[in-house]
């Protein structure tokens, strides 16, 4: 049932983030808490379980974004798979390394979101990209990763098959 708790945690964090955005006025950037959880899933969860959790979290992000197009669902699963693949080449154990790992995935997630949005709309003004916003969002996500790391260790399910197997799906 840990995957339900993971999705519930994502829902809670997204809600908190929406309130924080409202009060702190993150007009340029935000804290990507879902990517933090997806990054942890990529490190610990089994592939199907992690993909389903990522799918659900992407769906939550899609719904909470106010403009559900399916993009964030797709990106959540994609980032999970890419993170899982990258985990084969890096050793992520502690908080700091996890934060760096999550920051990398967050930057990738943001760039992919911008790219797909641009491809869909062909309107450069619609994506509102800024290097400063990207850096700030990545840094804030890294900070959130450091803070959430102990909680994620307790909540996020750990896949038994994730030991030393190499590969995207296995």
């Amino acid at each position: 049932m840990k995957w339900i708790a993971t999705v519930g945690l994502a829902l809670l964090l997204l809600t908190v983030e929406s309130v924080a955005v409202k009060y702190l006025g993150f007009s340029v950037t935000r804290i990507d808490v879902t990517v933090t959880i997806i990054a942890f899933l990529a490190l610990r969860a089994a592939v199907v379980q992690g993909a389903v959790c990522s799918f659900l979290m992407g769906y939550l992000l899609d719904v909470m974004s106010g403009r559900p197009t399916g993009l964030y669902v797709f990106l959540a699963v994609l980032v999970f798979l890419l993170g899982r693949f990258a985990n084969n080449f890096v050793d992520v154990g502690g908080r700091a390394s996890f934060a760096v790992f999550a920051m990398g995935l967050d930057a990738l997630h943001m760039l992919l979101a911008l790219s797909f949005t641009w491809m869909a709309s062909r309107d450069a003004g619609a994506i509102g990209f800024s290097i400063g916003g990207l850096v700030l969002q990545v840094c804030l996500t890294g900070l959130a990763s450091v803070l959430l790391f102990p909680l994620l260790k307790k909540v996020v399910p750990e896949g038994s098959e994730r030991t030393s197997e190499i590969g995207l799906l296995r």
Binding site: L11, T15, V19, V47, V48, A51, F55, V63, F74, L169
Partner: protein, 295 residues
């Protein structure tokens, strides 16, 4: 077939999870879909939580802002209290100046309408012993004050100088039992003597002939026959008139026109021998009646 599906189960599931939303995005990427039942459920779950979190944040922010505002209010209040104290002090000073101005204006009016060289003086002390009832002024022999001089205000007579030093003089008030002032009833010109009764009591009007017309409320003015006060100065109002069935005189009291317990500024009249008016009409013609100007 089933074996194949089972073998590639994970690949199929993950591919579906990846490609279905991607397909949806490609199909409807520019047009967001309308929220369905699941979307509404998710939003229904998060909305109360958002409201609760918003309420908590609002409470904390309001509490913090209230605290900060209160700190500001406290400092502002202290500044306002200081400013208020300063303003009150200025108001008190202005009120005092206005009252002093009124007193001095009254004295000036008297000085301008009466002949002679009056000496303006200020009360600097009151005899603490109470006997005689006297006050101390800040003018003395250096200023030309002589023993026996009359002391008045614009409202009426005050008393007589009984002791003079270089820079001060003591004035026996007309309410002192040793004070005897020659007076007359302004309306009838009947002469009498106003004697102090001590303390805060009224003056005693003595030696009014029983046959004279004296009514309560009659204005009593100085007669000018005692060589101290010029004639026509206001002494007070007659009250408690008692006409005895026998004897030569009737009795009455006089409420002094000047409250001698609240004196601040006075005029000292030069010591001259006033001539008593030959008759009532003469006095009235000269002074135009007693001055009854009040504070």
């Amino acid at each position: 077939m089933f074996a194949l599906l089972k073998r590639y189960r994970e690949l199929i599931v993950v591919s579906a999870l990846l490609l279905v939303p991607f397909g949806l995005f490609l199909a409807h990427g520019t047009v967001p879909r309308e929220p369905n039942f699941v979307d509404r459920t998710v939003l229904a779950i998060t909305a109360p939580l958002e409201r609760a979190l918003g309420f908590c944040v609002d409470s904390v922010v309001a509490g913090w802002k209230g605290y900060v505002d209160l700190r500001g209010v406290r400092e502002k209040n202290q500044a306002l209290v200081r400013e208020n104290a300063e303003l009150l002090d200025k108001v008190r000073a202005l009120t005092e100046a206005e009252l002093e101005n009124q007193r001095l204006r009254g004295l000036l009016d008297y000085a301008q309408t009466h002949e002679g060289r009056e000496i303006a003086a200020r009360v600097i002390g009151v005899n603490p012993a109470g006997t005689p009832l006297s006050i101390r002024l800040d003018r003395g022999s250096d200023d030309g004050v002589e023993k026996g001089a009359a002391v008045i205000t614009h409202a009426g007579i005050v008393g007589q100088v009984i002791r003079v030093t270089g820079r001060t003089c003591d004035v026996m008030l007309l309410t002192d039992p040793n004070s005897h002032t020659a007076v007359m009833v302004q309306r009838t010109r009947s002469r009498a003597t106003a004697t102090g009764a001590g303390g805060g009591q009224n003056l005693i009007l003595e030696y009014v002939r029983r046959t004279d017309d004296l009514k309560e409320g009659d204005t009593i003015v100085t007669a000018g026959t005692d060589g101290v006060f010029p004639p026509g100065l206001l002494v007070g109002k007659a009250i408690d008139v008692v006409k005895k069935s026998a004897g030569m005189f009737q009795s009455a009291e006089v409420v002094p026109a000047v409250d001698t317990t609240r004196l601040e500024d006075v005029l000292i009249l030069p010591l001259v021998h006033w001539e008593a008016p030959a008759e009532t009409a003469a006095v009235t013609a000269r002074d135009g009646g007693a001055r009854e100007a009040g504070p």
